[in-house]
Symmetry: C2
Subunit: 188 residues, 2 copies
DNA sequence: GCATGCAGTCAACAACTGTTGGCCTACGCT
DNA sequence: AGCGTAGGCCAACAGTTGTTGACTGCATGC
């Protein structure tokens, strides 16, 4: 191999891309290694060679960064809208979070990963934004935000409730933003 | 058999009870017919005899009535609390809805059943309650309510986010009720 | 030019799945 | 008492799954 780039890196990436697609579309158990390998146009045994087993493949495919912006210093009345818009951007730009949502309902490791992502990434952001607000702790506020955000993803992208799917995202943002804002920074 | 009661009715009920438990705990694909039969202390082939196949068994086990109360005539300021409390009662008293939630993320038939339940049972109730309120249509309001309610069930009973699990239900009701109230009856 | 090692393929394994059909048993009617 | 039949069990099927190990080609080092 050359110094920096292994010849197999392209294959590894193809596997990961196919895995995210399949996990997002089918959930953990129905996304078979054979199907993922077929999508990546390689042999199933390569998946095993590079990722060991299915659980580790999922762990690799489900590495996700919410990329939450810093909310300190922003005008309070705009925070809800910014957060909801941001989540829509992440969902539309990367199906990994949908994969985690689908897999997390049946696979314990995926659920744990989901908890970890929201605790470690959403938690601190909420803690800073909610400083001084009365009522729930920062963790509790993060939990409330997660419930509304994930419920939105669930009904729109997974269960596909007709009215939620049909609505334009800007319209959804306008109606849901005040909820998030309340959970985030208002006295409760 | 006697006129009204077949001897097999007890078995049928045991199968259904075991099926609900397993579907709620494991989701659709990981809840195997063999495991359900073992829980009901009978042979797997009996499940097939009484319910035909796995999909029909699920359809029978996932028959669910939200039992939503009529909201007309209630004081507007109490509606949110009543609705959220009601859903907590249904979740805690019957795991069928959790089974539907778990299965709905990976099984298309379960997702369809979920859409059907919310459209047919939540839809009309919202339509009556929201009469006269400006903004979203009744279906859209029902979608918003579903997103928050299901998000709450998801984070508390399925993904088990620590802060949401630890909170007492009365505390959750107090914080979430205004959101539901807004989605239900307020001008948006 | 030849050995080394890596990328990739092929075929098979053992376990598990939903599902089927045949068989036994015991209740309930006449 | 005798018999039909419904309730139940056993064993097996075909397909699919994750996973493994032996094999082939090919590029790169000496």
């Amino acid at each position: 191999m050359t110094e920096n780039v292994r010849r197999s890196d392209a294959t590894r990436a193809a596997i990961l891309r196919a895995a995210r697609e399949r996990f997002a579309a089918d959930g953990y158990e129905r996304a078979t290694i054979r199907a993922i390998a077929a999508d990546a146009a390689i042999d199933p045994s390569m998946v095993m060679r590079y990722y060991g087993n299915k659980e580790r493949l999922f762990a690799a495919a489900a590495d996700f960064d919410l990329r939450l912006p810093d909310l300190t210093g922003l005008p309070r009345h705009a925070i809800g809208e910014i957060v909801v818009k941001h989540f829509f951007d992440r969902w539309d730009g990367d199906e990994t979070l949908i994969a985690l949502l689908r897999a997390g309902t049946t696979n314990p490791a995926a659920a744990e990963r989901m908890r970890e992502i929201f605790a470690r990434q959403l938690g601190p952001v909420v803690a800073r934004a909610a400083r001084g607000a009365k009522g729930p702790t920062a963790e509790q506020r993060a939990g409330l935000v997660a419930s509304q955000i994930l419920g939105l993803a669930l009904t729109r992208y997974v269960l596909r409730f007709a009215p939620v799917v049909a609505l334009h995202r800007d319209q959804l943002v306008a109606w849901v933003a005040p909820t998030i804002q309340r959970y985030l920074v208002e006295d409760l």
